[in-house]
């Protein structure tokens, strides 16, 4: 897993940036979605030794101050969960915006989006 996942992350980042650099609006949004997923997976793996460890649930027995055995670090999961929720909301907004854009501009070719550049 620890060699496979970094490769997957790299491919995800590369695909996301590649998609964002295409001229199509649809590919742009796919790229944005992938970029979010890539960083989520990165947090998960980067915290390896913290997040990917096999161990008991992160619960410390009553009266103790440290865990008796190795436990999985719950923080990366909490971060990813938050990021997924935020990413979901933002992506939903972006989809609605892109739909509106398609209706207003009439094409999904990003090169046609030049009205704001004409002085």
């Amino acid at each position: 897993m620890s060699t496979l996942l970094p490769i997957v992350i790299g491919v995800l980042y590369a695909t996301a940036l590649y998609m964002m650099l295409r001229r199509s609006l649809v590919k742009l949004i796919i790229g944005l979605a992938l970029l979010g997923q890539a960083s989520n997976l990165l947090i998960f793996v980067a915290a390896a030794g913290r997040g990917l460890v096999r161990g008991g649930p992160p619960i410390i027995a009553e009266g103790e101050t440290v865990a008796a055995s190795t436990i999985a670090d719950p923080v990366p999961q909490a971060l990813i969960l938050t990021a997924i929720v935020i990413g979901f909301g933002v992506l939903a907004f972006a989809l609605a915006l892109f739909h509106r854009t398609y209706k207003a501009v009439g094409t999904d070719d990003l090169d046609a989006f030049t009205t704001t550049e004409e002085a």
Binding site: M20, L42, A46, L97
Partner: protein, 494 residues
């Protein structure tokens, strides 16, 4: 839990929530927005006074002890930023009362402004790096909606650019946070600052610092990451442009100052040198971009970029005086830049266009407005005795005493070009006879109401100029505080 630290976040949240309940009554929403912005201003003043009296204030949210829970930290820099953004939001709300049309108001314009302020204040106050990401997202999603509200074709097109680049920047930020957590095992900024010197891979820390530089650099619109800004800031209504121009990029600058004074200080020969180079290039490209423009708000947008260069110049020099000058610059700039956008909105209300070629003759129509344009415009260019002069003077003195002559030269040249641009707007929009003497109906009453916040901000610009000694000494205190890492660690992690 200290109420003072929570109020700048809770007041806008509560007012937005209550506004949602009275969705149909535009008048009630307006009243709530005015009351909330005044409340925000009051709480910001009290916060600044108490921070100056007792020093840094920390509160643990939900009483979870640091570094496990999220902390809110107000040092002098945060308190100053919160105060100046509260001033801008009061001005924006008052300006919006006459300038924003019913259609915008029906779609929740005022609650959106308040949610934006919640994000901005949260970003200024938080002491937790992941929480900073969350506040950035709160701020961004509100700004996305404000940017495209009204759904003109121009706005939607610019919205695509704005949304895409900001989302990409957020993804980079998140990536940086993930790797930072991997090497330090901490999210609390004080805790990260404590563990970073013990990290055995300096190259990795350097890489993380550059990821943060890129992420915040996009938000702050520095060279070469600024292209979304001049493509988008001139499309929404003037009130929205003004609050964006005043506050949003400055949150990026604040984040840069925070992480590059607290976290990434191990290798200033690399990081701060890089920031200094970027600062010079940002100033020059921004101001040269402005020279080529012929649209009122696009000129101002390019000037935001060149001014961002000044703000991070102080961070790049990285001495006590330079940081103080940067802080002074940010405070002065927020007020002046928002004010210039307000003026452009009034000109648009009179003539119905932002195109300089078609504008003209404003000085005969409204001498008062012309005067009110000159104050922030000359301040932006750095004419004494206005606030911008002292801001630039501080930076140039800091540059000379640090023997960074190249950046000083860039700053001086940029100042001249800024003066040129402001004179161009003055000549084209105000001084020359109007090529087409078109006036929109009933502008006098509206313009008079819109000039109230403009006049107040212009007065504030003059006052900052006159009281620059006092404000500069406060900025020096703030700079002492952010340079004293040990103090931050001691206060947050007792």
């Amino acid at each position: 839990m200290n109420l003072l630290l929570v109020l700048p976040i809770v007041i806008p949240l509560a007012s937005a929530a209550v506004s949602m309940l009275v969705w149909r009554s535009r008048r009630t929403q307006r009243a709530i927005a005015v009351a909330a912005s005044l409340g925000l201003l009051a709480s910001a003043i009290v916060l600044l006074v108490s921070v100056r009296r007792v020093g840094m204030i920390v509160t643990e949210i939900g009483s979870w002890p640091a570094p496990f829970g999220i902390v809110l930290v107000a040092d002098l820099l945060s308190a100053l930023m919160i105060l100046v953004s509260a001033i801008i939001v009061v001005a924006t709300i008052i300006y919006s009362l006459t300038s924003i049309d019913a259609r915008h108001e029906r779609f929740g314009y005022y609650p959106l402004i308040m949610l934006l302020m919640m994000g901005v204040n949260g970003a200024f106050l938080t002491g937790d790096i992941f929480n900073l990401y969350v506040w950035f997202e709160v701020m961004l999603i509100s700004s996305f909606v404000l940017m495209v509200l009204g759904a003109e074709r121009e706005q939607i097109e610019s919205g695509i650019k704005y949304v895409t680049l900001n989302l990409a920047s957020s993804a980079f930020f998140l990536t940086g946070v993930g790797i930072l957590y991997a090497v330090t095992g901490a999210l609390n900024m004080a805790d990260i600052a404590r563990s970073l010197p013990n990290v055995t891979q300096p190259a990795l820390v350097q890489a993380i610092s550059v990821i943060f530089l890129v992420a915040f650099g996009i938000k702050a619109a520095v060279f070469p990451l600024f292209f979304w800004l001049p493509a988008s800031y001139h499309t929404p209504p003037a009130a929205v442009s003004a609050i964006f121009a005043g506050l949003l990029t400055k949150v990026g600058v604040y984040a840069l100052i925070r992480v590059f004074t607290l976290l990434f200080v191990q290798d200033p020969e690399f990081t701060h040198r890089l920031i200094l180079v970027i600062a010079g290039l940002t100033m020059i490209t921004g101001v040269l971009g402005a020279v080529a423009q012929n649209e009122f708000r696009r000129i101002l947008s390019f000037h935001i970029i060149s001014q961002i260069g000044y703000m991070i110049m102080g961070l790049g020099i990285f001495t006590r005086l330079a940081l103080a000058a940067s802080i002074f610059y940010v405070l002065h700039h927020i007020i002046v830049k928002a004010n210039l956008f307000f003026v452009s909105g009034i000109v648009h209300r009179i003539r119905g266009t932002y195109d300089l070629k078609r504008l003209g003759g404003i000085q005969t129509l409204s001498p008062m407005l012309s005067l009110l344009f000159l104050v922030p415009a000359m301040s932006l260019a750095g004419v004494p005795p206005l606030s911008g002069f002292f801001a630039k003077l501080g930076l140039i003195r800091a540059g000379i005493s640090a023997e960074e002559y190249l950046i000083v030269a860039a700053a001086v040249v940029t100042g001249f070009f800024t003066l040129f641009s402001m004179t161009k707007i003055w000549n084209e929009a105000f001084w020359k006879p109007a090529p087409e003497p078109r006036e929109l109906p009933e502008w006098r009453g509206a313009a008079r109401a819109m000039m109230v916040p403009v006049g107040a901000l212009a007065l504030l610009t003059i006052l900052i100029g006159l009281g620059s000694g006092w404000l500069f000494s406060v900025s020096l205190e703030a700079s002492d505080q952010i340079l004293d890492q040990a103090l931050y660690l001691r206060t947050v992690l007792p």
